[in-house]
Each structure stands twice: as C-alpha cells, then as structure tokens.
Amino acid sequence: MADEKENIGEKKYKYSIIIPTFNERLNIAIIVYLIFKHLRDVDFEIIVVDDGSPDGTQDIVKQLQQLYGEDRILLRARAKKLGLGTAYIHGLKYATGDFVVIMDADLSHHPKYLPSFIKKQLETNASIVTGTRYVKDGGVHGWNLMRKLTSRGANVLAQTLLWPGVSDLTGSFRLYKKCVLEDVISSCVSKGYVFQMEMIVRASRKGYQIEEVPITFVDRVFGTSKLGGSEIVEYLKGLVYLLLTT
C-alpha cells in the first residue's frame, strides 16, 4: 500500500488521543465522528477514559467501537469521578502512539485543529504543541464581558508572575511527545485548571520546546457554570504555588 504522506518521506507516526469523559453521551459520538473526518490519512487511536458516567456514555462508546473498530477506539473506564490528572495518567498507560493529544469531550475543542497541531509538531520538532485561544486567528465564543475580563486579568497576572512562554496557560488542547507527557505529568500535583497551568509551566522550566497553534473555543457550558469567588481564590493560590515551586 503506497500510502506515504507526500510532504514527508519519513516514517508515519501514531497519535493517541486521550479524552476524559463524564456524562458526554452525545458529545463523545460527535467528537469521534469529527476526529475520523479530519484525520483521514493519520494513524491514530482514541482512548476514552470514562469515570462511570450514569448517562450511558460507555454504551455509546461500545457502539462506536463496533462501527470504527476496537483498535481505533479504546474504552478504558474507571469506577467513579477521579479527576483530570489521574484520567490522563490512566489513559497514558494504554497509549501506543508516539504522540499523545489531550482534549476535552464537550466540543469546546474542535477536532478540525488536529491536523494543524500535527503539522506544527512535524515542522518544528516541538516537544509540546499547545492550542491558544488568545491570538489573532484563535478566539472564544460564548463568554460575556465579565468572563473575558477575568480571563484577561488572570492571564496578565500569570504572565507577570510566571513568565511562562505561552499565551494561553489554562488551555487543555495539547499535543505532547509521549515521553514528554510521561515526564511532566509525574511531577504535577495540582487539580483542575491549575493542573493544566502546572503542566505547561513545568514543561517550560524543564526546557522542553513548546509551540502554539491558534484554536477557537466554543463554550456551550459557561452559562451553567459560575466563575465565583472561590474559583478566583483557587486560581490565586495556584499561581502562588507555581511561583514558589517551579
């Protein structure tokens, strides 16, 4: 099968896409469809780490496995909601790719950007390619003025204190070399979005090459979740922790 990529005459790489899910019955099916649509000539596997969703997410994944093949879609579930960091670690155990992509299951991360992540990594041989919402070709939809203000304020504060070298610190749409993800994740202890920040800051401190690609982010969830005082306090505590320990 003479199926070489015409722009790169070297070996084909495999990409493992880890998607943690909790109650994403409809979204996971759509994401899988879109990944297959946009990565036609790419060798990849999707690892769904479901935390015991009561809405039947795992049933849908099993149907998708029948449709696309159990070698392309791996269901590696856990008994209950155990957190994002451990979900990645769990998924990593089963990943057989050279690269690992992490993304959210709620359709805020669109699979159509996956080719640009892959291309950027191949062009620059970066250890990490991270999606950024805050540059010209990127963007966010679904945030009101207050939300944008807190996002921007949080970003300026983090940039001033941490000098991270990336424009979008809390983003979670990223491509890692598998060995790099294993190395960085083992030294991270935070939870939630501070975990995403810790990952990228630690990687930056360790000297890994990090490149960015613009992504658009459609937030359909924001209306239901609140960004209250406790979230802000958590964020500030996270910043101070990162300032002192990285």
Binding site: L26, A29, I60, L64, H110, V140, H141, L162, T216
Partner: protein
C-alpha cells in the same frame, strides 16, 4: 534555578540600584525616596493597561458556533444512518 530565585534576584538588583542612588545623591534624596512608590504604581498601571488592551482586542469567533452546529447535525445524520442511537442533547 527556580523561577522565584530569578525574581528575587531581580528585586535585589533593583533595590541595590535604589540604595546606590540614595547614597550617591545624584538625584535629590527626596525624589529618590519616592522611587519605589513610582515603580509599584507604574507596574500597576502597566498591568491595567495590558488587561484593558487585551479586553478590547479579545478575539471572538461567533461563526464558529454556527459551524459547530452544522458539524453536530452532520454527525447526527451519519449515526442515524448507521443505526447508532445518540439520543438527543
């Protein structure tokens, strides 16, 4: 070296410069005493400026929501034909 060490070194260097200015008295001492306050206030103003500029230039993408809806519809159609019951949102 840890990042905090870099920041502290920077602050120590700035402080040393400030103390040097105080002792050398090239600039009148009354001005020099106020320099740290000017520095902090300028830093604060710069931060606020960055927040304001960033807010004005915040990239938005309303067309993406429309495109996403089209993708969702396309996917649902596909699964309907394949007999996969994805239910409703």
């Amino acid at each position: 070296m840890k990042h905090i060490v870099k920041i502290l070194s920077l602050l120590v260097a700035i402080s040393a410069f400030w103390i040097g200015l105080l002792q050398a008295a090239i600039v009148p001492r009354s001005h020099t005493w106020l320099l740290p306050i000017y520095f902090v206030v300028s830093l604060g103003c710069y931060g606020l400026l960055m927040v304001g500029v960033g807010l004005m230039q915040f990239p938005t993408c309303p067309q993406e929501a429309v495109l996403l809806q089209m993708d969702i519809t396309e996917a649902k159609e596909f699964f309907r034909h394949k007999g996969v019951d994805v239910g409703s949102d």
